[in-house]
């Protein structure tokens, strides 16, 4: 068997090169000066050309740089993909056949000015169409969720282009997607058959709140702020009837953790079954005249929600790992992600070296779920 070959240079087991691997979270970071060329709005472009774009100008309490030896090394631990050929070169090393590229401007939602933010989304999407898609790479369009009208317009403009397979937005301390103002956005996504792919953002837990101010370590912030927001985003969408109104809509939670799935599954059903009376008071379900959800809450979780795997953070024993995968509905919900080039990079080694994976589960997590969801 190939995996028995000894090759010190290999980053992942030899068998990984024989399996199709689709990677749901591969970041590309084009140079700012390149992106600026794609900004159509003259006013916004002039500002980008003359004012540095970066983190919001306010105090920042958390920095991964304090937690690792290389200082600010975490964002580019593996390198920086600026052009499509960089993406291909990096993916090949880790046996990733199909990196679903996002342009990775995760501080976009932290910015205040909507003209600036919308210009970034437009430029990122045109960059993707011009520089990524023609190179036979699949790509996520950026969806400016802070401005629903513009988001819808942008979806109609970009979604049907070849190579665009999903819409990239963010979960976090923003308006929750259960708000009915997002319905036109969901309608547009369903019309174009695009899953909504939500990544953690650099907004983190709101500062100047007792919780935000109380957390001083990166383990709390990246490790737990994101999953908490991810859980709330998921439960909120389910309980507010988003999937009753849009049963065809799929949501992917990227980098928001995955081992919370059993917790949410059982707790959501338990609480809903005991307290179902307020569902009909949600504006969306009220308008639909619905007394109850159409399905058990956990059924929406299994059918309409996906989670990415990075970092897998498996338990030591493969029997425990297998049980957790089973309880987490991994065969239906998990999508492999590497997070290249960040420090939390997660090559798919575990799928080939751990007995928790049989052939079917490996295929589901590494490519089949993504093939079905994105039609690729």
């Amino acid at each position: 068997m190939a995996s028995q070959d000894v090759d010190p240079q290999r980053e992942v087991p030899a068998d990984a090169f024989d399996e199709r691997i689709i990677d749901l979270d591969f970041h590309m970071n084009p140079p700012e000066e390149t992106l600026i060329q794609y900004v159509e709005d003259d006013v916004a472009r002039e500002k980008f050309e003359n004012v540095e774009y970066g983190m919001a100008h306010r105090k920042a309490k958390w920095d991964a740089a304090w937690a690792i030896p290389g200082g600010n090394e975490g964002l580019f631990t593996q390198g920086r993909a600026e052009v499509a050929s960089d993406v291909k070169l990096a993916a090949e090393k880790f046996a990733i056949d199909d990196p679903i590229v996002n342009v990775g401007i995760n501080n976009a939602p932290t910015q205040h000015n909507p003209v600036q933010k919308n210009a970034i989304a437009q430029a990122a999407n045109d960059f993707a169409l011009d520089r990524i898609v023609p190179e036979d790479l699949h790509c996520l369009m950026m969806v400016p969720q802070w401005d629903v009208d513009y988001a819808v317009e942008e979806i109609h403009r970009v979604a049907d282009e070849d190579g665009i397979v999903g819409a990239y937005g963010w979960f976090g301390p923003f308006d929750l997607f259960g708000d009915t103002k997002f319905d036109p956005l969901f309608e547009a996504l369903v019309e174009h058959d695009l899953p909504l792919v939500l990544h953690g953002s650099l907004s983190f837990w709101p500062q100047d709140t007792p919780y935000g101010d109380g957390m001083l370590t990166w383990t709390e912030i990246l490790g737990f702020d994101w999953p908490i927001h991810a859980m709330l985003t998921t439960v909120n969408a389910i309980m507010s009837g988003v999937f009753d109104k849009f049963p065809e809509l799929d949501i992917v939670i990227e980098e928001g953790g995955h081992w919370w799935v059993p917790f949410v599954k059982y707790r959501m059903d338990e609480f809903y079954e005991m307290h179902p009376g307020d569902i009909k008071m949600h504006p969306r379900l009220h308008e639909m005249g619905q007394e109850r959800l159409q399905r058990t809450p956990s059924e929406y979780l299994r059918e309409n929600v996906y989670v990415t795997t990075q970092p897998m953070a498996p338990p030591e024993r493969s029997t425990d790992f297998e049980a957790m995968l089973d309880l987490s509905m991994a065969e239906d919900m998990f999508l492999y992600s590497s997070d290249w080039p960040h420090q939390t990079l997660d090559p798919a080694t575990w799928a080939f070296t751990n007995r928790a994976f049989d052939e079917d589960l490996r295929a589901a997590v590494l490519h089949e779920n993504a093939e079905e969801l994105f039609g690729i």
């Binding site: 000894v6 090759d7 010190p8 240079q9 290999r10 980053e11 140079p31 690792i68 030896p69 290389g70 200082g71 600010n72 090394e73 580019f76 631990t77 593996q78 390198g79 920086r80 993909a81 600026e82 960089d86 070169l89 990096a90 080039p341 420090q343 939390t344 990079l345 997660d346 090559p347 080694t349 575990w350 070296t353």
Partner: protein, 118 residues
């Protein structure tokens, strides 16, 4: 004893600050040149089996990253893994925060050759 050692490379094949992967008796070994001093340990990181020999490899567009190369060496002395930057003691093979350990091997340089004892 010299007969326990295997020649793995010429000393001038490996630049300071870099790693090299070799196979001795079917075992993957990472050889490091740290400021002219050679060290050897198991090639697979105790965290998630990254090939430690890739330390010092230039990143894609490395000149535009904070550090130009993957992983590195610290004064501890330790090797910093090219994947997630775990620091592994060159003399102990140990990662302090987790307590996980890998094998370290004796190395010597003779007549311009690097030899490793497994």
């Amino acid at each position: 004893m010299t007969e326990d050692y295997t020649r793995v490379a010429a000393a001038d094949e490996l630049e300071p600050g870099n790693g090299m992967g070799v196979v001795v008796d079917g075992i993957e070994v990472a050889l490091f040149n740290v400021d002219g001093e050679f060290h050897a340990m198991s090639n697979r990181c105790p965290h998630q089996r990254a090939p430690l020999c890739k330390v010092g490899e230039k990143k894609i567009n490395g000149e535009k990253c904070w550090n130009e190369n993957r992983g590195g060496f610290t004064d501890q002395p330790a090797v910093t893994c090219p994947w997630h930057l775990w620091e592994i003691g060159l003399e102990t093979g140990e990662h302090e925060a987790s307590g996980k350990k890998i094998g370290v091997f004796d190395v010597k340089v003779e007549d311009g050759d690097v030899l490793v004892a497994i």
